[in-house]
Subunit: 389 residues, 2 copies
């Protein structure tokens, strides 16, 4: 009986992944770049246990047992076992089944690419269990494309690769989290009632119908990836921020160019975009960048020194429902009520209350980590999910 | 003393104009195609009078005197006078000034490209006054790009042209209104509180910053223009509708790819898009097409036979504020309350009441027309705006 528990981070792309060239292997049309968020504030946690007593592989996700027959899940398990057979045949006998239990420490409703953290955590935990070493980001990629970026901390590049097998479509670290410790990420969780378009479906439709997608993937992104790597290495926030905003907009443009269109941002999202551009213009420099994934929530990038002003600005522009300040999870901060000399320049009025659900403040962090101790596991010693108090 | 009054139509592009290659001459990056709407339901009306008594050129727009120094306005006047000097030097002496009075028969707030109808009407009326003949769409174009398309009825193509002077950037008729009399246009005027981004500014920003715009203009639009002309000539509604929707989406995609992004559609606009795709899917064929200009209002194209079902559908999905049916201007129609067998397939609930202001139902119509009679004019015999009762 062996039991292993890991946590793995969420990542937020600054150069977006949108479109696969191979659906089965999950090979992307273009490179992408992300920052890995600190697991203190947002993470997936997975416990895996192998035992000769288990009669089948089983999985529990966020408290509910799910089918192990999900092809992406099965594939990750299969591939880790295949590597283990070559590398570490004596660690876990091939005939043993596994129990997997996984959960996020943030609501799935937050729309924060929970599948990326989830698959990264699954693969990292299985790799620990089977004693597999070396790069397993290509296995995580086959669970959920962007999961490969959550296998590393700091600033991460997912290379599209050129091999048909996908063996070179892996994640590499541009710089560790410690390279740019001043960077902060403020997530604005937007209220939304719209039924979500799955990003898998939206992406497939874009590849099939958007004439702009190929141009973006092949003609625009390569240049942006180079500039973004340079901006990160030089800690050039202005460049970092501008490319991030442009690339978020272009990703949503391509989604809109899809037939039928895939629309992820809503009116509140666009109000956030407008606010950030007006705020930067009022300061005469780019102090904040926004980026949006396949959902209405904004991720704002800024330097630590700007956080109190920006959180105060958000409270002003997007007042909480009871007119108190917005709930802030993660890192805590002071809030500076914006001066009239600033708000006068924004050319906008505060929106009606309740457009945001809450905020999460975090920073760039490390990759997956193995947890030690008797009380860290989500599975008990018999391999059943631990009952919560 | 000579007094002339004309009306001119609104046009709705099905292949969009977005981006100039020459700001002064208003030369577009790509060809565009539009339908001209019937002037019974929507039009601009302009009276022009020339007199030796007038001490200066003056203009009144929608009841208010405006500066004649607007460069686009001055330019239209200058060019008509230049043509007149060559063609018809004896009709109006060069030293006479003109008074111009213009209004729309629809609220400007409807966001229906009122400047296109307005400049078309101005140039058509001036051409009548000065007795100028031949194509003057290139002059209207210099007032407002898409105004050149309102100089003709039916289905109209604005050729981007290749000459530096812009002399070949003119509008031509693909087919008259009588070619496809079954076509109907239903305008949904959407409630919106957002400050509008001017399309002139948005377009300039797109040309300066969108990497996707050039690809669209040079690689995508030429093929669409060919297919659209063919669809119109063959009265192939399916093709006409699909290209219309794809091109509307791509125009808004390019606007979103702009830095800062130009966002014209709002959540209600996107709900309309979603409804139309679901409605078409439920029927297994494209019965309705949407298109959006630089604002949140939808223009729906359909055949006459579909109008009662579509208006009923709109009443269901976008109930009026007092839960009565939506106000309908223009052509009148029956409304078929949608069957549950249909609404069950739409995968959506009706939106909260009051998302639409009103509807306008119209058809394809003719170009500018000169009005005859003593009571048609907006200027009295002394050249002052007629006072309304």
């Amino acid at each position: 009986m062996t039991r292993v528990t890991c946590i793995a981070p969420v990542n937020i792309a600054v150069i977006k992944y949108w479109g696969k060239r191979n659906e089965t292997l999950i090979l992307p049309l273009n490179d992408s770049i992300s920052t890995t968020l600190c697991t203190h504030d947002l993470c997936a946690k997975t416990s895996v246990m192998a035992s000769p007593e288990f009669t089948e592989d089983r999985i529990w996700l966020n408290g509910r047992e799910e089918s192990i027959k999900n092809p992406r899940l099965k594939n990750c398990l299969l591939q880790i076992r295949r590597v283990a057979r070559d590398q570490t045949p004596n660690v876990i006998p091939e005939s043993w089944h596994v129990h997997i239990c996984s959960e996020n420490n943030f609501p799935t409703a937050a729309g924060l690419a929970s599948s990326a953290a989830g698959y990264a955590c699954l693969v990292a935990t299985l790799a620990q269990l089977y004693g597999v070493s070396g790069d397993v980001s290509a296995i995580a990629r086959q669970g959920s494309g962007s999961a490969c970026r959550s296998m590393l901390g700091g600033f991460v590049r997912w290379h599209k690769g050129v091999e048909e097998s996908g063996s070179d479509s892996i994640a590499t670290q541009i710089a560790p989290a410690s390279h740019w410790p001043e960077l902060r990420i403020l997530v604005l969780v937007v209220s939304d009632h719209k039924k979500k378009t799955s990003s898998t479906i939206g992406m497939q439709n874009s590849v099939a119908t958007s004439e702009l997608l190929n141009y973006r993937a092949h003609q625009v992104v390569p240049g942006r990836v180079k500039k973004m790597e340079k901006a990160i290495m030089e800690k050039d926030f202005t460049q970092f921020a501008e490319i991030t905003m442009r690339d978020s907009n272009q990703f949503h443009a391509v989604a809109l160019d899809t037939y039928p269109p895939a629309v992820y941002m809503n009116d509140t999202s666009h109000s956030i975009v407008n606010l950030i551009h007006k705020f930067n213009a009022a300061h005469g420099q780019i102090k904040v960048a926004y980026t949006f994934d396949a959902g209405p929530n904004a991720c704002l990038y800024m330097l630590e020194s700007e956080v109190p002003e920006v959180v105060g600005l958000i409270d002003w522009a997007f007042p909480a429902k009871d007119m108190k300040i917005n709930v802030l999870r993660g890192l805590q901060t002071e809030r500076n009520v914006p001066k009239e000399s600033l708000t006068g320049k924004l050319e906008m009025q505060p929106l009606s209350a309740g457009m945001l659900q809450y905020l999460i403040l975090t920073k760039v962090g490390d990759g997956p980590q193995k947890l030690e101790g008797d009380f860290v596991h989500l599975l008990d010693k018999s391999g059943q999910p631990v009952k919560k108090a």
